[in-house]
């Protein structure tokens, strides 16, 4: 048995997966409660209790949680103060990077080869730590430029901080193997900010499971669509931020299991989130996701949010139909205050008055929808409004009856949304196709990404998807169980891991960055790209909580270091990963 629970903004959903003898899993139970934002733990436990009532707790293989805890804490900025310690060296003005509630800039300096150019000053460190102490700060983030090439200065500051008894200390070099000091600083700051809340949460959940005599391992879902064992999440809780959209993409994967290139639409009340699989593999955000408007090094799945959803307010501005970005309430046909795209679908007969959304039955009133759309007709400048592709001739002749007028408005609304989403999709594809490359080989090999199918989930998804897909020229599929797709995504996802091996044989160092290893290469040993690759593979396997998940090498580069016409060494970098995927497959009947 596997349990997946997704804490969303409105609902907390859960699924219990049970396998038959052939290890085919199926959804045995689902559960849904309203999320109590003040007490996420309670919402989780209510779902958990309902899923396991009467079940054999010893048979639970794992529990996977996707929570909004990190996201909420950061969005609402309700966290304890963070003291930031920067070791920037020369470069960009470090003024830009003082995100902390208190900030100190130290005068150490590590260069791009990982060489210490300028040592730290002990008295500077102590002075900063004393200042933070008296300001009542207990969370620290210590970040150095090029610390992933040589973490010694970050570690030196950490040592001082431990002597000063600071409780939670985030060091920049452990967060990602990627270069980018400003992102490292933002990531470390956010990581430090959520660490205390995260640790409290872990303690509370552990205790609750103990009380229920559940011994199964517990995992959290990360925003890259992979899971992480609870204990390991302590060092880098920031990885669990934004897991909701990742859960939805992994859920789509689990419930459809397509191996080709598809778009994923999650059509909600206010927004439509667009994601993408390339040959069945979810695509990452380049460089890392943004948190609270700041770019970070947190690896996350590619999603783009378009402010168009089923309940978006529809207005006419200067003769043109405008959908969103606000949501004033439910659809007019459900007693809401403004016309919405859902009303448009009702008027067009694409949704029935008695509808089933995510297992909930919903009652609409088509007449109300019609009345809500009708007043827009006269405000629209039909000359400039791009005509939607409607039933033959519908917009050619002047509509006479109120019903015909409402239909024409509804057509216009759906056309606006599909044009906007279509444009957004084009934009996503072209930005991925034109992503910067740095070798002639890659530049000449650049290929086009052409998905042919839209997979969707969410509320009135079915009707919307059909409309969008046919207007934009895609085939469509609406996944079943979409009401609990996020929980299914959490339950089925496998762990993800990344390992970056950076070796500079001229300097005589190798870094296994995500494992926190910075060590000398044995003098005289000839370290090769093959060995770097082996190391990357080995350390990825070693850190994985499950065996037999394939590790892939995603990047490999090697440069000869030549000084005065002589090769003095090599600089190599190899990245290995376990990419997001499914640990558990649902039986065919479930897809």
């Amino acid at each position: 048995m596997i349990i997946g629970i997704d804490v969303g903004g409105t609902h907390t959903d859960g699924v219990l997966l049970v396998s038959d003898l052939a290890k085919n899993y199926k959804i045995a139970r689902t559960s849904k409660v309203m999320t109590d934002q003040e007490d996420l733990k309670n919402s989780i436990l209510r779902v958990l209790d309902s899923l396991i009532s009467g079940a054999d707790r010893q048979k639970i293989e794992r529990i996977v949680l996707s929570t909004t805890l990190a996201t909420n804490t950061l969005v609402e900025k309700k966290y304890q103060p963070v003291g930031l310690i920067l070791i920037p060296g020369p470069g960009l003005n470090p003024e830009y990077l003082q995100f902390g509630d208190e900030n100190a800039i130290l005068s150490g300096y590590i260069n791009h080869r990982g060489q210490e150019v300028k040592p730290l000053s002990g008295s500077e460190i102590k002075q900063a730590l004393k200042k933070y102490h008296s300001a009542g700060i207990s969370n620290l983030a210590i970040v150095g430029k090029f610390s992933i090439r040589n973490p010694s200065q970050e570690l030196e500051v950490k040592k001082y901080a431990e002597e000063f008894k600071f409780q939670q200390i985030t060091v920049g070099h452990r967060l990602s193997g990627g270069l980018n000091f400003p992102r490292r600083v933002a990531t470390a700051y956010f990581n430090a900010a959520i660490t205390p809340v995260h640790l409290d949460f872990i303690r509370a959940i552990r205790k609750a499971l103990e009380q229920r005599k559940i011994t199964a391992p517990l995992f959290l879902l990360k925003c890259d669509g992979g899971t992480i064992p609870l204990a390991e999440s302590k060092e880098k809780p920031i990885a669990t931020v934004n897991s909701g959209p990742a859960a939805s993409i992994m859920g789509t994967l689990a419930l459809s299991n397509h191996q080709d290139t598809c778009l994923v639409l999650d059509i909600g009340g206010t927004t439509t989130d667009i994601g993408l699989f390339i040959e069945g593999v979810p695509v990452f955000m380049p460089r890392g996701i943004e948190i609270a408007g700041l770019p970070t090094l947190v690896r996350g799945l590619y999603t783009r949010s378009v402010p168009r959803g089923g309940d978006s307010e529809v207005r006419v501005v200067e003769g043109r139909i405008k959908v969103g970005p606000r949501r004033l309430g439910p659809a007019a046909a459900r007693g809401g205050p403004a016309p919405t795209p859902t009303d448009a679908l009702l008027v067009l007969g694409k949704i029935r008055e008695k509808a089933q959304f995510n297992g909930e039955s919903v009652q609409f009133n088509r007449e109300t929808a019609l009345k809500a759309l009708l007043p827009l007709y006269d405000k629209i400048n039909w000359q400039q409004e791009r005509p939607g592709r409607s039933e033959v001739g519908a917009h050619r002749t002047e509509p006479a009856s109120p019903r015909e007028k409402a239909i024409k408005v509804a057509e216009g609304i759906i056309a606006e949304i599909s044009a906007r989403i279509g444009k957004e999709i084009e934009d996503i594809l072209s930005s991925l196709e034109n992503r910067p490359v740095y070798t002639i080989h890659e530049l000449l090999a650049a290929s086009r990404i052409r998905p042919r199918m839209i997979i969707s989930m969410g509320g009135p998804a079915k009707a919307f998807t059909r409309e969008l897909a046919s207007r934009l020229g895609y085939s469509e599929e609406v996944i079943p169980y979409s009401g609990v797709a996020n929980a299914v995504g959490a339950a089925c996802a496998r762990p993800t891991l990344e390992t970056t091996v950076h070796a500079d044989t001229a300097q005589g160092y190798v870094d296994i960055i995500e494992a926190g290893i910075h060590r000398k290469i044995k003098p005289g040993s000839r370290f090769t790209l093959e060995e770097a690759t082996k190391l990357a593979r080995k350390w990825t396997e070693k850190r994985s909580p499950f065996r037999n998940i394939p590790v892939e090498i995603t990047e490999k580069e090697s440069f000869n270091v030549i000084r005065g016409f002589r090769t003095t060494g090599k600089i190599m970098e190899v990245k290995a990963q376990i990419k997001p995927g499914l640990l558990t497959l649902l039986g065919v009947s479930q897809r």
Binding site: Q80, G91, L92, D101, L179, R183, L294, N434, L443, I571
Partner: protein, 466 residues
């Protein structure tokens, strides 16, 4: 900032985070293409490793994330783009590989971005460089095969034929190729600041190289003594380059941004620092910058390029300096200062009286044609070229060129003799007709004497080889 972390409010944090994003004052397009899979040869300065440390520094500084800085891939220059500038012997494919076409494509992308107003400025950090490639190309010289910036200019002029464009080439080596290509072009002002040619390749770039009779003082050369520092460079900039640009009023300023003036460069003897470069760029305020040479790949390029990017974007570059930067070590001697002042004074005077010079006397020609002989040495490929270039001097237009060239390959005893007629885009109808008649004649009569005969007709946009 409050000292008592406890009363931090979410609203204050909102401000704190949102105010921290730097925004470029000038939107900047970056074409960063290090060509990590290409080298002239494994240990050549123009090798895979050249922009490795620059990439590390640029990425670690997070410059690509700065609001208003955008990254683009280069395109690939087409055959016609190359033919508009070069007469490649025997043909474009023999001289320019993908790496060269992509490097030129990076420059073209920079120009497109600026002219289409997608960005205010663009910087092409591409390799290999181009400024030593002449109009006739027999091989590689000064690590250059085709002239990226000249190819870019001809692409620009395909849609803006009369645009006035200024080059300021700050590479330590004289930009002899670009100078030669536009030597007779009155719409291009080409200024090169470089280490004195008596002490460095290519051995040219003296104050008396001033452009052809139809483009007098459109070529200016400022040779700088070895040991020149930021002080000397900025003296030239303030007292000569900027006032000349002020007078010329270009519609587009291009900085050929060579970075081998740096005090740590292994191939030159100059004393410029990253700060000096960045400040130069800020003062010059170019629309487009294109990387040229610069082979102190570890100690200079990472810092100079970050400085240039910030300066072009209008951001604070004052925190950038090299690990071993010490201004006291980089002071230039009074003798150098004196020499630079004299050179600047000479050129100032010349610039002032540029419209009053007797060109026939200056160029020592009578009638309608002016001829010069050139010996061009291809250091990289070991080729000696002897060239005779005759320009038709026309009061109404830039005239046309007749070029005969013999190239001796030192390695293979191979010799190529070519003859070419080159017709600029803005040549008047009479000269155009005359050049075409001349070409038809030589095509008939001179076939036997030359290996190849070329027509480069920009006015008709047609290019032939026989």
């Amino acid at each position: 900032m409050s000292a008592t972390g406890k009363n931090e409010t979410p609203a204050k944090r909102e401000r704190q985070l949102s105010s921290r994003k730097p925004t470029a004052r000038n939107s900047l397009g970056l074409i960063f293409f290090p060509a990590f899979d290409w080298a002239i040869s494994p240990t050549h300065p123009e090798r895979e490793e050249r922009l490795l440390y620059t990439r590390d520094q640029v990425f670690e500084e997070g410059l690509m994330d700065i609001e208003n800085i955008y990254e683009f891939n280069p395109g690939r220059a087409g055959k016609k783009d190359v033919q508009r500038v070069h007469i490649c012997v025997p043909d474009v494919e023999d001289v320019a590989t993908d790496s060269h076409l992509i490097s030129a494509g990076g420059a073209i992308r920079a120009a497109e971005l600026v002219l289409e107003k997608k960005v205010d400025k663009a910087f092409a950090i591409v390799r290999p460089p181009g400024h030593h490639a002449f109009r006739v190309v027999h091989g590689t010289r000064g690590f250059c095969n085709i002239n990226n910036e000249a190819i870019m200019v001809e692409r620009i002029r395909a849609t803006h034929p009369k645009m006035k464009i200024a080059f300021v080439d700050t590479d330590a080596h004289h930009a002899d190729g670009t100078q030669e290509i536009f030597y007779h072009d009155p719409n291009i002002l080409h200024i090169s600041l470089h280490q004195d040619g008596r002490t460095l390749f290519p051995g040219s770039g003296f104050t008396d190289e001033l452009g052809g009779p139809g483009a007098f003082a459109r070529t200016l050369n400022i040779p700088l003594p070895p040991g020149t520092s930021d002080e000397g460079l900025h003296y030239v900039l303030d007292n000569l380059v900027l006032p000349v640009l002020e007078d010329f009023k270009p519609e587009l300023v291009i900085n050929a941004a060579g970075q081998d003036n740096h005090y740590s460069d292994p191939l030159t003897n100059m004393q410029i620092s990253a700060q000096g470069y960045a400040e130069l760029n800020a003062k010059l305020n170019p629309d487009i910058a294109i990387l040229q040479g610069g082979y102190s790949i570890e100690s200079a390029l990472p810092y100079i390029n970050v400085g240039l990017i910030l300066a072009m974007a209008g951001l604070d570059y004052s925190y950038i300096h090299e690990p071993d930067y010490n201004p006291a070590d980089l002071k230039q001697s009074p003798a150098i200062t004196e020499t630079i002042k004299k050179t600047v004074e000479e050129l100032q005077q010349l610039w002032q009286k540029r419209s009053r010079v007797d060109l026939e006397e200056f160029y020592d020609f009578t009638g309608r044609f002016s001829t010069r002989e050139k010996r061009i040495y291809y250091d990289t490929d070991g080729i000696s070229e002897l060239q005779q270039e005759t320009v038709k001097v026309c009061p109404d237009c830039p005239g046309y060129l007749i070029i005969s060239s013999t190239a001796q390959h030192s390695s293979s005893f191979r010799q190529n003799r070519i003859l070419a007629v080159s017709i600029p885009r803005l040549t008047c109808d009479r000269c155009h007709e005359e050049a075409r008649v001349f070409f038809a004649e030589i095509e008939e009569k001179e076939k036997e004497r030359f290996d190849y005969i070329y027509l480069q007709d920009l006015k008709d946009d047609t290019y032939f080889r026989y």
